[in-house]
């Protein structure tokens, strides 16, 4: 029988039926492994009754939380695959996913299903209080090669290198990733992980690891500092898993509350940790933040579990399962990071590129597009990014997507977009615009309202600048960031 993350969870639930799995959001809320397993099995039964078959791919349009986890595991228990339809995307962005990834059905929260109704059967089946299941009527075709993959997730993403392609992850790859990460994290039944991130973007090397290794997940009421700290203390968190923005909100809290004394790691993910947030967190709580290096194609190659202040700023030593090569020019100590390991993505979805084809380009290595250096004692420092990806509050996207929308505005002749350092969100979005001749320049309000029709809120520029012309390199490529051609990380 092929590997399946749901079956691994069922085995864990068998071993520790009464162990807590979900704690919160209210103080007394506690769901045990056995209760959650039963919830998953009931949902799986409802999905089969609704017509779901093994091998189908289902779009999931649901807010993060206990039910989100249950729905993913129920789909896996049916041997189906999951494609997140992130809640915060606009309806237009969600519908675009149907054109790039073949979907057989959708599970949506009742209030959200209307956003994708144009692609669904008019009849839907209730699965649980707020979850509806509906078949898909219009979607692109699946690549024939997909049938050979034991697919768990297909994430619609631009990937590391730009244009929309989708990343396919099998149950085997996810399992290899969580085992690799656990060499450093050492997660087990005694752990309680405080969770603050969007499950649409973070699930495989986190939630799946917790359910596989028997840890509990703490879900706070919201992500304000006071709520996070209260939940961490109430439920005795041993790990936190959050973005720099969340840690910043904890630092700003003025209640004087501290961290629980059992906390082992405060893991920083989604984006590079600005130095000042790490310093402020240590000053307030006496805890070093544990930085990580995550790549959708690979998992978590590095986690800084040293808890050493003199190693803050590093993403840690490479985990044992990973191999690293830094491609430097002679005399240089930093260069592009290339990696290889188990748990590599199984394929890019569209156009289909198998793992073998992807790796063949660089002799078995994955070229990350990130620039790094290694210290003498093996700590990896990410020093820059050779790609244009923007990260706002840990949510990543490529500027092309925003530029395409802006360039379709009738008053805009050309647009370029880049990320500027922002102390709150990591980066904020700046757009430079060239006015179409004989047009009046629209105001910022009008431009923001126009963008809101097509783009999720975090992608909308916070600044619109009108320029006479865009800047280009000698080879004719647009220079996106006139302030700096290399994005600083952790500055």
């Amino acid at each position: 029988m092929s590997r399946n993350c749901a079956r691994i969870f069922f085995d864990t639930a068998e071993r520790q039926a009464d162990h807590p799995l979900i704690l919160g959001p209210d103080a007394g809320d506690c769901v045990s492994y056995a209760q959650f397993r039963d919830e998953v099995l009931a949902l799986a039964g409802a999905l089969r009754a609704a017509g779901l078959r093994a091998g189908q791919n289902v779009g999931l349009l649901f807010p993060s939380g206990r039910q989100y986890i249950a729905l993913v595991y129920a789909l896996w228990a049916c041997d189906a695959c999951v494609t997140p339809l992130p809640v915060e995307l606009t309806p237009a962005e969600k519908l675009q996913i149907f054109d790039h990834v073949h979907l057989d059905a959708v599970i949506a929260e009742r209030r959200l299903i209307g956003q994708v109704a144009a692609r669904l059967d008019s009849a839907s089946t209730p699965l649980a209080a707020q979850a509806l299941y509906a078949g898909v009527t219009h979607s692109c075709s699946a690549p024939p090669q997909l049938a050979a993959v034991n697919a768990a997730f297909i994430r619609f993403t631009s990937g590391t290198t730009g244009s929309a392609k989708g990343v396919v992850l099998s149950h085997e790859s996810i399992h290899e990733r969580i085992c690799a990460a656990n060499a450093a994290l050492q997660l087990g039944g005694a752990d309680r992980v405080l969770w603050l991130l969007s499950m649409d973007y973070h699930f495989a090397v986190s939630i799946v690891a917790y359910l596989s290794f028997g840890a509990a997940i703490i879900l706070p009421k919201n992500s304000f500092g006071i709520s996070t700290l209260t939940a961490a203390r109430q439920h005795r968190a041993t790990l936190m898993y959050a973005s720099p923005t969340h840690y910043n909100l904890m630092v700003q809290d003025d209640s004087g509350m501290g961290l629980p004394d059992c906390l082992r790691f405060a893991i920083v993910t989604t984006t590079a940790l600005p130095v000042q947030i790490g310093e402020a967190f240590y000053a307030r709580f006496g805890q070093v933040l544990n930085e990580t290096y995550g790549i959708i194609e690979l998992g978590l190659p590095a986690i800084n579990v040293s808890n050493r202040r003199d190693r803050q700023g590093s993403v840690g030593r490479l985990l044992p399962a990973y191999e690293l090569r830094i491609e430097c020019t002679p005399g240089d100590t930093q260069g592009e990071i290339l990696l290889r390991s188990p748990g590599m993505l199984d394929a890019y979805y569209s156009p289909w590129q198998s793992r073998e084809q992807i790796l063949a380009r660089d002799g078995g290595w994955l070229r990350t597009g990130d620039l790094g250096r290694l210290s003498e004692d093996g700590y990896l420092y990410i020093v820059g990014r050779s790609k244009d990806m923007i990260s706002v509050g840990g949510l990543k996207f490529f500027p092309d997507e925003v530029e395409t929308v802006l360039a379709q505005h009738p008053a805009i002749q050309a647009a370029t977009v880049y990320g500027r350092h922002d102390g709150r969100w990591g980066q904020s979005v700046v757009a430079q615009l060239v006015l179409r001749p004989a047009c009046a320049a629209p105001g910022n309000d009008e431009l923001a309202a126009y963008c809101r029709q097509y783009l999720a809120p975090y992608k909308i520029p916070s600044q619109f600048q009108w320029v006479d012309k865009l800047s280009y390199t000698a080879s004719g490529k647009v220079i996106r960031n006139p302030e700096r051609t290399l994005q600083p990380i952790g500055s």
Partner: protein, 86 residues
């Protein structure tokens, strides 16, 4: 459109029918689960863009984000303090 109306309009447009067609200015956005970190980021971006003002890190606390009224009061104070975005 005044600040309260604008925030009402923005929140209703971004909650996909969760609140129905109108929302009270004293409705608790935090207790109801609407004001999660992604939503908050959108609110801040919208207000900064619209009113050319800036939220400092210490301003991102529940008392400012609890209701439409507390948000609009915050914007009014920020504008009165001339906390203009740079």
């Amino acid at each position: 459109m005044d600040v309260q109306q604008d925030i009402c309009h923005y929140i209703l447009s971004q909650t996909a029918g969760k609140l129905g067609e109108s929302v009270d200015v004293d409705y608790d956005l935090i207790e109801s689960g609407i004001m999660d970190s992604l939503f908050m980021m959108g609110v801040i971006t919208h207000l900064e863009q619209r009113y050319q003002m800036q939220f400092g890190l210490h301003d991102i606390v529940p008392r400012n984000f609890r209701t439409i009224r507390t948000l609009s009061d915050f914007v009014a104070r920020a504008l009165a303090d001339n906390r203009v975005a740079i």
